[in-house]
Symmetry: C2
Subunit: 520 residues, 2 copies
Amino acid sequence: MTDAPNGAQALIRTLVGAGVDVCFANPGTSEMHFVAALDDVPEMRGVLTLFEGVATGAADGYARMAGRPAATLLHLGPGLGNALANLHNARRGRAPQVVVVGDHARGHKRLDAPLESDIDALAGSVSTWVRRSLTAEDVGADAAEAVAAAARGGVATLVLPADVSWEEGASVAAPRPLRPAPQVAGAVVDEVAAVLGRGEPTVLLVGGDVVASEEGLLAAGQVAAGTGARLLAETFPARTVRGAGLPDVGRLPYPPEMAIAALAGTAHVVLVGAASPVHFFAYPGVPGTPVPDGCAVHVLAEPGEDGVAALRALADAVAPAAEPVLLEAGRPELPTGALTPRSLAAVLGALLPERAVVVDEALTSGVGLAELTSGAPRHDWLALTGGAIGDGLPMAVGAAVACPDRPVVAVQADGSAMYTPQALWTMARERLDVTVVVCDNGSYAILEHELARVGASGGGERAGRLLDLSGPGLDFVALATGMGVPATRATSAEELADQLRAALAEPGPHLVDAVLPGRH
Amino acid sequence: MTDAPNGAQALIRTLVGAGVDVCFANPGTSEMHFVAALDDVPEMRGVLTLFEGVATGAADGYARMAGRPAATLLHLGPGLGNALANLHNARRGRAPQVVVVGDHARGHKRLDAPLESDIDALAGSVSTWVRRSLTAEDVGADAAEAVAAAARGGVATLVLPADVSWEEGASVAAPRPLRPAPQVAGAVVDEVAAVLGRGEPTVLLVGGDVVASEEGLLAAGQVAAGTGARLLAETFPARTVRGAGLPDVGRLPYPPEMAIAALAGTAHVVLVGAASPVHFFAYPGVPGTPVPDGCAVHVLAEPGEDGVAALRALADAVAPAAEPVLLEAGRPELPTGALTPRSLAAVLGALLPERAVVVDEALTSGVGLAELTSGAPRHDWLALTGGAIGDGLPMAVGAAVACPDRPVVAVQADGSAMYTPQALWTMARERLDVTVVVCDNGSYAILEHELARVGASGGGERAGRLLDLSGPGLDFVALATGMGVPATRATSAEELADQLRAALAEPGPHLVDAVLPGRH
């Protein structure tokens, strides 16, 4: 590093100074100075991904586990386009991320070169903060602001013209101070305490920071124990701390009929770090939300506010002496015989290692998974926050980079795995300790359910061909080994248990293709 | 089909009536009624892709070869995000496409469900036409307009709320009349004729419709023969008709130093269906365009205008009796020994079947490819119009669907192949006659060149790791067979010839992994 770094060097040095020292990258020509600068700033770890959605999904998983942003490096508008689906998930889960999008040099913009496109329109659709660095002098300060903006729980996108990257005379900026999460006013806590005091049927719907910390979960359990309120978590929390010794927090189910049943008879829903529940999709003749008519929705803490502190204050107010009901340690017996979603879940529950990070993109194959792992040793659970499939394998990459001493288990639906299969290669390249269990039912099973649920007529052979992954079937063992990840296939519960045990025992990535009933 | 179809049925029926009878789809819940309607309208062929970029890239290749749009079916904002890179290529190549993006039901929009995002911002960045169908009554007419808008050479995006899709009372709309391309005014032809009459060094830079038709190429060759103007094609034309019996039209090279050399000494550039040339990227100290200082740029026909007719009129004016110089039939000898980009090109030149469609995403491995195939039997050539890599395999899918009686040969760089490898599965599913030749050099070789070209310092080991696809190497034979495509590996020119011959002789998809010198 010289005294007068170029823009790229100042940018990377500023990021590192602000604690952003991992960059998931898929660079192109306009990012070559950034790439070259990695040799000047060895504190920044560059992780190559072969597709941009892997980079942003990895940063999503990284942020959820590390509690701070990673950077991603993308190439122009098309690179950002490829990255958008997992930026959508990061946005929905409030996972911080600093996206650096290389752009044409300033003087090249007006020439409408073939790769010219509207980067700002794309960035604006997923970012809480967007800036274009217009001079090398500014890029350090811009980067420091980007980190600060991301730290407030969002995607911060810095557009970096190639010549700003290569110009000298840039300067490194000091990190901006981190602002703690906003506190909930005491009057709000008092109002919610009064609601709980009425003794009417109440659901405490928790999410965000509450389910991501022991303290939050214990406070929630204390309120529930002391007031009789029912405790539920949002459907797809970004990160949940789980396992024996913690309160049993069920999640609001995804299927609308089950979500409606879960909230039936409720007079009050109190939100703590969770949004007011709505169905993922609209269905003919079904209301858009499972909240019953006449049920009042109260907000103790918005997502992004300090929900844990608010809940602690609430517990002190309404249930100072209550003890939360805690889950006892307990694992299911190892099942035998046919492999089904439930026996798959039981194998996982029986074998889940201590301090595992579970990345859950199992979709329909995940039935029973939460229940059968709830008494397992303490672990973290990452769910698909925004519903954009293809975040599972990338998040596993990022979680493993963030937590190199913890085993990562990705429970991955087969159809969804095919949106970002390139993540497997990065697992191999970086020798990440990830065990992927593919829930291989040979179909978009969730769409088969949805086709019926929306009441679509037809569903004949031609429609069925669009929901069916057979003819040819996908060979996940071949796909994984083709990207350097050792893989095996399990066709019974016993085989799955044996293969999962072996995969968990050996460092580095492994894939187990769990063949479930389906359309093979 | 009932008398009162629902929105989805009316939409599909309208598309089919307007000649859009292929839909490359990656649907989700909000598109289930569209999927169900495929059973009601058997004239529409639904082709499942496992990733949205495959769908839009396939539609790009389809449109280039069929001369009319296919439809694509995408799921909400994240699905459109995944599709954007190849929509960018379609936009840059003026390839028509009707994009149908399913959205939440109208009443569900304000609930900010997890998959809610700004679809319009994304659609606007790549589309010449965007509309949201707001009632089932309108959807037929909207679809007819979408087809008409696309036919003018662009991406037309119709956002389809789920409830508009499922509501009954829709009606099928008649196709809108196709408008022929705008004609170039006679005065413009006269002006260009006067320029050519001066006898100064002139380059006729052709693209778009001119290089896609024999008539255009012959007229261009006639002008060149009669005036001494040099004939060059734009760097990445959407479709070029090539081979023995046609004029030899070299392409303006991609590398800036070569493009500058190609235009050095030119006093006039006459554009016919091509944009004024600019470098793909800016480089320190290099002007943004290869057009020399003082060289005048004249526009005979803008892209989208009838360049062929303008060129015919120009030929009649300036060279009525001239005969274009035509390429004689000729193939390179089959090479032996080491596999290099040049021997790979020679094998392709020697074996390219008649009426082949070549999809070229070979990037740095494509050196020599144009030269060594120029005397081959008549074929079509599809290039990477917008520079967004990952269009090659998908375009091959679309070209094969458009031309089921023609062999498709995809010459595909390895790094680029990994953006949309899912295309291989659709080739197998649809039993498409595609032969993929992977140019396997184990690196992002183009970026190694670019790193040097932009003058980036460094390029040390850590930078190199971001340009290098080894550790682990990608096994394309395993990847292809994992998706149902038979595959072999060639490590010498003889093996490549044998395997290519075998692949071409057998119907259905094949992949040949051509191992080139590189970083394995």
